[in-house]
């Protein structure tokens, strides 16, 4: 292993030889002379050729030895691995990284960034990682160019990119060179965005360019005890006088909730393993489909549990207004119940997840009534928009599961721009060019119905569970549907009130008392009557009938047949889908 070599060469270096009896050493003076591994090594290399080889060997080792044991200890003391150790976790056990530009840099040491092509589950993956033990992994023009070259290579050869970011930012002594370095890398990453997918692991403490660059990637994974952001707490303190811990400023809780980090994990190893697992759902490039895994889970497996779940929820005291966890539906549909949630810490009123159906990778986008009633708020809209766009670019078919009463109204949402966010979601859905299915679970009201992969916005097929309630709006819609009848009812209430007061006064009540009692009685009566209109509205309009009659829904699917029906439709659509880059006119927003 590379790391061993590095240590061996450095082991005794910092300790001066013992000259005084009490000067401590850390070696073994009783050790046998090292056994000779190479029989030719006995010949002392004296020729010019041998000298050349020796020098070459020293050069080959230099990036591994990097800044020496004390620096490595400093890295380890923080609970962090070195870049080489991280590579060992990530790549296949029997493989070695093909390191690129390994001696680039003035000191011929690789300039604190490693670029390589590695094997992960047999696939070629372009990989970079900052070596924090050298100059704190900072960036200058050299490693900016080096990184850009790797990124372009990934794009050109059509292989995914993984970044292991652990950098203090621009190398200040390099001056503008550091900024140029970042700019080059930014540009390269933007150029391959949409060509090959990328996964960014955020290790250590990354500020400024160290945060912006990776966020240009497809997915960010952040372990606990790390920070990234525009600036660190020290700058925040000096600029704004705010006292804030790195964790509260740019830790995984903060970024996981905002969606800046797509996935948060416990530690570095978990981050790398999560990257491997996520990669299993991603294609090499926009030209090919994601990896297929044939399944032993029968496609005709009945989804009885979905039936039970809906029965229990809808037969419960809260009836059709009972929240339910939509991830259970996703689980029951997927091969062996295995799925992978993206942005699970953000806006779980919407679920975005990868799974497999009959072995094909599918993106799931579902409203989750178990959280905040499943309403689409700003965060949910952007979460969906981002995910749908990714699926569109990388040949991932999408199954939408709809169960929402609509967008979240209110001053807070408006002032933060729900209209813009909702539009982003709508545009992403309109633009989606991979096979796309809508399954309506329950509520599909108003604008949310229209936007959420209806036929009109481009769905390939719209399916509905029997519990579907497509309507322009919820029970408030009775005001429009039964306008005249309600007007009459309210008018009669006023009349009724007058009559009741009169009757009570006649029987001797003082007028104020009579009015009070009568108002209560009429109020109760009116509420009961209006509730009847609510029920009538639910019965007459909140069902799939009208949508079926208008062809807005293709087919009603029974809950037990969800896997089979979704599988059958998807299989057809995928048979007729040619994976390839998404070519279209550039629109004004995305």
């Amino acid at each position: 292993m590379a790391t061993r070599g590095k240590l061996k060469s450095k082991r005794n270096e910092p300790i001066p030889a013992a000259t005084s009896p009490v000067t401590p050493t850390l070696d073994n003076p009783l050790a046998d002379p090292s056994p000779v591994a190479d029989p030719h090594a006995e010949v002392i290399p004296t020729g010019a050729y041998d000298q050349t080889l020796l020098q070459a060997e020293e050069l080959r080792r230099r990036p591994y030895a990097a800044a020496g044991t004390l620096q490595i200890i400093r890295q380890h003391a923080k609970g962090r691995m070195t870049v080489w150790e991280r590579i060992d976790v990530l790549q296949d056990k029997d493989s070695r990284p093909a390191v690129l530009y390994q001696n680039w840099g003035r000191n011929l040491d690789g300039a604190s960034i490693v670029t390589a092509v590695v094997k992960i589950r047999g696939r070629d993956v372009a990989l970079y990682g900052h070596d924090f033990t050298v100059r704190a992994g900072s960036m200058d023009a050299t490693n900016g160019r080096k990184l850009a070259n790797l990124i372009y290579l990934a794009g050109k050869r059509g292989i995914p990119l993984i970044g292991m970011n652990d950098s203090a930012g621009a190398f200040v002594p390099a001056g503008i060179g550091g900024l140029d370095g970042y700019a080059e890398a930014f540009t390269a990453l933007r150029k391959i965005s949409g060509v090959v997918p990328s996964i960014m692991c955020m290790f250590g403490f990354n500020a400024g360019g160290g945060a912006y660059l990776p966020r240009q990637g497809s997915f960010m994974i952040q372990p606990a005890n790390t920070f990234f952001g525009l600036t660190g707490p020290v700058v925040v303190k000096s600029a704004l006088g705010e006292d804030v811990t790195p964790d509260d400023l740019g830790g995984p809780k903060v970024h996981g909730a905002s969606g800046v980090s797509d996935i948060t994990v416990a530690d570095e190893v978990a981050a790398l393993r999560t990257a491997q697992r996520l990669l299993g759902y991603l294609p090499d490039s926009n030209k090919v489909a994601p990896p297929f895994e044939s399944t032993s889970d029968p496609m005709d497996r009945r989804t009885t549990e979905i039936d039970t779940l809906l029965r229990k929820a809808f037969n419960s005291p809260t009836g059709f207004n009972t929240p339910l966890d939509v991830t259970i539906l996703i689980q029951q549909v997927c091969d062996h119940g295995d799925y992978f949630e993206i942005q699970p810490d953000r806006a779980r009123n919407a679920i975005t997840a990868f799974g497999r159906l009959a072995g094909n990778v599918v993106g799931f986008v579902a409203n989750n009534s178990a959280v905040a009633s499943g309403q689409i708020d700003i965060d949910a809209a952007y979460k969906i928009a981002r995910f749908v766009r990714f699926c569109s670019i990388y040949n991932v078919p999408v199954i939408f599961m709809e169960d929402t009463t609509g967008f979240l109204p209110g001053r807070d949402q408006e002032s933060r721009g729900i209209v813009q966010a909702g539009r982003a979601m709508l545009d992403a859905i309109i633009d989606l060019h991979t096979p796309r299915i809508l399954l309506i679970i329950r509520n599909a009201f108003g604008g949310a119905y229209a936007a959420f992969n209806s036929y009109a916005v481009g769905a390939d097929i719209v399916l509905a569970l029997p519990t579907t309630r497509v309507a322009v709006m919820g029970t408030a819609g009775k005001e429009y549907t039964y306008k005249k009848e309600l007007q009459e009812l309210r008018a009669s209430a006023a009349q009724r009130l007058d009559e009741l007061i009169a009757a009570r006064v006649e029987t001797g009540s003082p007028p104020e008392v009579a009015a009070q009692a009568a108002e209560k009685e009429v109020g109760d009566w009116l509420r009961a009557k209006e509730a009847e209109f609510n029920q009538r509205y639910e019965k007459e309009l909140m069902n799939p009938r009208e949508a079926l009659s208008l062809g807005s829904i293709s087919e009603i699917v029974m809950p037990t047949d969800l896997r089979a029906v979704l599988g059958r439709n998807l299989a057809f659509l995928l048979r007729r889908y040619e994976p390839g880059p998404w070519q279209s006119i550039q629109r004004e927003f995305h």
Binding site: S296, K312, H336, S373
Partner: protein, 939 residues
């Protein structure tokens, strides 16, 4: 059928083999084939996966399971892992496995029978589920023409009901505890005191009691017959209150007879710790009666409400004998010691066999330990008596499957407690010690061996009386099982965690994990599994065997050391189990703790945790570094610099393992047990009896941080630390080769202090040896903090005596101290708030729906996780759960249907746990002062 090719747990030959008797060359053996059996497995837990495996290995192709809603739709990622290897057509949904009420239970039974009919399963297997011991369930199956793989209803009735069992025991010269076993009969007789009154009662209720005319029958026995007839007709002949009064009187009489002793109240339908209470005052008994009946769901009309009162054996050890029969014969398969338990839930079960005792006795004699030999001889005698009694009992009740004969042991006395007429969780402990050999009565060379109790249950169910009486064949001498549970550091249930990965089983590890380790059959990746905790906290059973008890203990401890579970919010008792197993392993695995051992032990670990938290290790390490560098200042500048360098190079080598030990007090306990003979403490100072370098290496091993190639660097010793440690170890190994044999560490240390060479070193080498010695020892002073913590909390006061009993210091038995230490181990969720505010804006409801009771009202005590209210947002009714426990002082929203803002106060509350926040500076100073007190003795 899907083959579990991605199931790492099926590789162990101890529990997996080809069991197809139909493939045997012998015709006689072939006649016992079971491959045509269709079995529906109606339980869950580790036994379900085990039964699937065993039945498939027997050649059965038609094995079905039930899947309950709680295993499929209550939480995502809690889907039964067995589904990954099941054909969906053999998976049958059911709301739950047992039903919450008697009516529901009857419904479930009917559903199970219907599933069997529809899918042509002729056999039902119930494992150790609640159904397994339900005689009415078994009877219903028998009536439906199905065969129950387990004891028949006649055995269940004769042996399963605790009162009946005790009578059978007495009749078969089985040792029982003093007490009362017919409380219901005596209650009945208090109301209807003679035959005339009983006869009248029988007539009035239209009961069928054929024994009525039998004048020879004792009155109490006759009362039992009347009661049995009443159960059959679903009638109650007295109220629970009347029963409670009677039991109260009986309790008072018993206490008067045995003053100062405590008694145990047990419902006949209880088991597994349920339906039992201990009392010492008869006054508390009547309310306990109702409580206990509620617990075992026996408050319905016509339920058998009989209860036992038994003398509580205080120094209890819990032993049990595995028995097996076919109705005609009954054999015992050795025993299990289940004394290590908490709140009556077993944690560790150890095999007890005659062979094991005999070998251990011989070993103790050879070692000259006659005291131990005598104790073990007495235990062997007890085991022999228990096995003989168990066989007599089994034969008397015509046991036609497996059962467990449970006893408590006090000194050389044992008392029969009850028979569990089902396979037990810990059954593997016995099957790993003994196989069963069934021989052709006509030809002794024609035989087959059965290595699984589940297998033998199926064999008996199908072939019954055709099976000849087997002989037992020794397999391993010893076996041990530990229960891996989802509990936190203080062993409180901790459900909700998600397992993300679980290391593959190590060589020899037997892991019954419900299938959690079965990988995704398509991708071969570990599948996330949520420990939903819908049933109990058990995650898996881990077992190991050995040529001796010591070896089995060592192996299971090794399994625990190397088991790596990673997850989200995941807490298991692995660390606790590792600590407690090491406690025994490093003292004597033949130790005889009572059932009361665990809580005091846990309290002791809490004390360790409290003390460890009061030490600032960073500061201590810095101080030691400074001190050593200053001490070296007597040398030249070069020496000072070199000393500084050495300390700097050891930063992670020393701080990393220490931090882990301090963070996990169960590991600290394990460390203190493992190294208890490696040091002396004199005048508060630690004197090492072993080279601290070796201790440090052992510490890395204990923490499972050895240099394991292929593991992530973060999961093993850092490379540079490994380099330092191996250099140091090889230095001392080579030094040891030069020094006189048997030289102690202290002597070596002294020799190396001298400037004059020892051990025939030349003058040139000697200074280098000394320099290396000083270098390798530098900074290791900090290790001494660990023994000092032990000394300060008096860790070693929990001692093992020569007679293998354990002395528990009285302070560890104090229940308020126990509670306090538990809170040190796991601080309860606390809050500063005295109100609960709306989690979101919307319409507030205090109850589930109109007509339902409010979730809480003024004065209600709520626990963390209890539902408090509902907020309706856009027609969704979101139930909101308590984040902490407390009491409602005031309901701030008077009625349901009111719109509330997010953050609006809803209730005034008093939390159970208030934050008593220590001022950070005070805390800092306190820890500093305490750390300095350690350093003062260290430097």
């Amino acid at each position: 059928m899907l083959t579990p090719k991605h199931d790492p747990t099926t590789r162990n030959p101890a529990i997996h083999r080809d069991r197809r008797l139909g493939q045997s060359p012998s015709e006689w053996v072939r006649s016992f084939a079971c491959d045509d059996m269709g079995v529906l497995i109606v339980c869950r837990g580790p036994i379900r996966k085990e039964a699937i495996d065993v039945f498939r290995e027997m050649g059965m192709t038609d094995v079905g399971i039930l899947i309950s809603e709680r295993d499929s739709i209550v939480f995502p990622r809690a889907l039964s892992p067995e589904l990954r290897i099941m054909d969906p057509k053999n998976v049958h949904p059911i709301p739950d496995y047992t039903g919450a009420t008697k009516e529901e239970r009857e419904q479930r039974i009917a559903q199970m029978i219907a599933i069997c009919r529809e899918h042509d399963y002729q056999y039902i297997f119930a494992g150790y589920g609640f159904m397994a011991e339900d005689a009415s369930f078994v009877r219903a199956l028998e009536h439906a023409g199905l065969t129950f793989i387990g004891p028949g209803s006649h055995t269940q009735e004769a042996a399963g009901a605790k009162d009946e069992a005790k009578r059978t025991a007495i009749a078969n010269q089985v040792s029982v505890t003093p007490g009362l076993n017919n409380a219901t009969a005596r209650t009945l007789l208090r109301k209807y005191p003679d035959r005339t009154a009983l006869a009248k009662l029988v007539k009035e209720n239209g009961l069928t009691v054929p024994e009525m005319g039998d004048q020879k029958l004792a009155l109490e026995a006759l009362a039992d017959c009347v009661l049995a007839a009443a159960y059959a007709k679903h009638l109650d002949l007295f109220t629970i209150e009347e029963l409670a009064v009677q039991i109260g009187l009986e309790a008072a009489a018993l206490i008067a007879k045995h003053p100062g002793r405590r008694f145990r109240l047990k419902a006949v339908g209880g088991g597994g710790g349920k339906g039992q209470r201990i009392f010492s005052d008869a006054g508390v008994v009547p309310p306990l009666v109702r409580e206990v009946l509620n617990e075992v769901k026996a408050t319905g009309v016509g339920d058998n409400k009989n209860m036992l009162i038994e003398l509580n054996v205080e120094q209890t050890r819990h032993n049990e004998i595995q028995i097996l029969g076919n109705g005609a014969w009954c054999v015992a398969l050795g025993g299990r010691d289940c004394s290590l338990q908490m709140h009556e839930q077993k944690l560790i079960e150890v095999s007890i066999t005659q062979e094991g005792f005999t070998a251990a006795i011989a070993q103790a004699r050879t070692a000259g330990d006659t005291r131990k030999a005598r104790v073990l001889e007495s235990d062997l005698a007890v085991l022999q008596r228990m096995e003989a009694e168990a066989e007599r009992f089994g034969a008397a009740v015509q046991l036609d499957s497996v059962s467990t004969f449970e006893c408590i042991v006090e000194g050389a006395q044992h008392y029969f407690m009850e028979v569990n007429t089902r396979i037990q969780v810990e059954h593997r402990v016995s099957e790993l010690c003994y196989a069963l050999r069934f021989s052709n009565p006509g030809d002794a060379t024609d035989f087959f061996d059965v290595h699984s109790l589940v297998e033998v249950m199926a064999l008996v169910a199908k072939h019954k009386s055709r099976l000849p009486k087997p002989t037992r064949v020794q397999r391993d001498v010893a076996a041990i099982e530990i229960r891996l549970n989802a509990t936190d550091r203080a062993l409180n249930p901790a459900a909700g965690g998600v397992i993300i990965s679980w290391s593959d089983p190590i060589e020899g590890e037997i892991r019954d994990d419900q299938g959690i380790s079965i990988k995704n059959p398509d991708t071969d990746l570990f599948m996330r599994y949520r420990l939903a905790g819908a049933y109990d906290s058990n995650v898996a059973l881990l077992l190991a065997t050995g040529e001796s008890r010591l070896e089995s203990f060592a192996r299971v401890t090794e399994i625990l050391r190397r088991t790596t579970l990673r997850g989200i919010d995941l807490a298991t008792n692995r660390e606790f189990l590792f600590g407690i197993a090491t406690w025994f392993l490093s003292r004597d695995v033949w130790a005889k703790p009572t059932t009361k051992f665990v809580v005091p032990y846990l309290t002791l670990v809490g004390e360790l945790a409290g003390e460890a938290q009061a030490i600032d290790f960073d500061y201590a390490f810095q101080q030691i570094a400074r001190h050593t560098t200053t001490a070296a200042a007597g040398g030249n500048d070069r020496t000072v610099a070199a000393t500084g360098q050495v300390i700097a190079l050891k930063e992670t080598l020393l701080e990393r393992p220490l931090a882990l030990l301090i963070e996990e007090p169960h590991f600290l306990s394990a460390w203190l047990s493992e190294h208890r003979l490696d040091f002396d403490i004199a005048g508060g100072r630690v004197v090492w009896k072993r080279n601290p370098v070796e201790i440090l290496a052992a510490t890395y091993h204990l923490l499972h941080l050895d240099d394991q190639p292929g593991e992530p660097a973060a999961h093993r010793i850092w490379d540079h630390d490994h380099q330092l440690l191996t250099t140091a170890l090889s230095f001392y190994a080579q030094l040891a080769a030069r020094m006189p044999k048997g030289m102690s560490w202290a002597e070596l240390n002294d020799a190396l202090r001298a400037e004059a060479p020892s051990f025939c070193f030349d003058v040139a080498t000697w200074p280098k040896v000394r320099a290396a010695h000083i270098g390798h020892q530098l900074g290791l002073e900090i290790l001494a903090v660990l023994p000092m913590i032990a000394a300060k909390v008096d860790f070693y006061a929990l001692t093992l005596n020569d007679d293998l009993s354990v002395t528990i210091p009285t302070r560890l038995l104090d229940s308020s101290h126990q509670d306090a230490m538990r809170k040190v181990l796991v601080p309860p969720p606390t809050t500063k708030a005295d109100e609960i505010v709306a989690a979101m804006g919307g319409t507030y409801y205090s109850q589930e729906a109109p007509g339902f009771p409010s979730f809480v009202t003024k004065g209600t005590h709520f626990d963390r996780g209890d539902p408090l209210y509902i907020i309706e947002v856009m027609k969704m009714f979101n139930k909101v759960y308590a984040q902490f426990s407390g009491t409602i002082d005031e309901m701030l929203i008077a009625e349901s249907g009111v719109v509330v803002r997010k953050g609006q106060p809803l209730f005034k509350v008093t939390p159970d746990e208030r934050i008593v926040e220590e001022d950070p500076n005070t805390k800092h100073d306190r820890i500093r002062v305490n750390t300095d007190s350690y350093l003062a003795k260290l430097l």
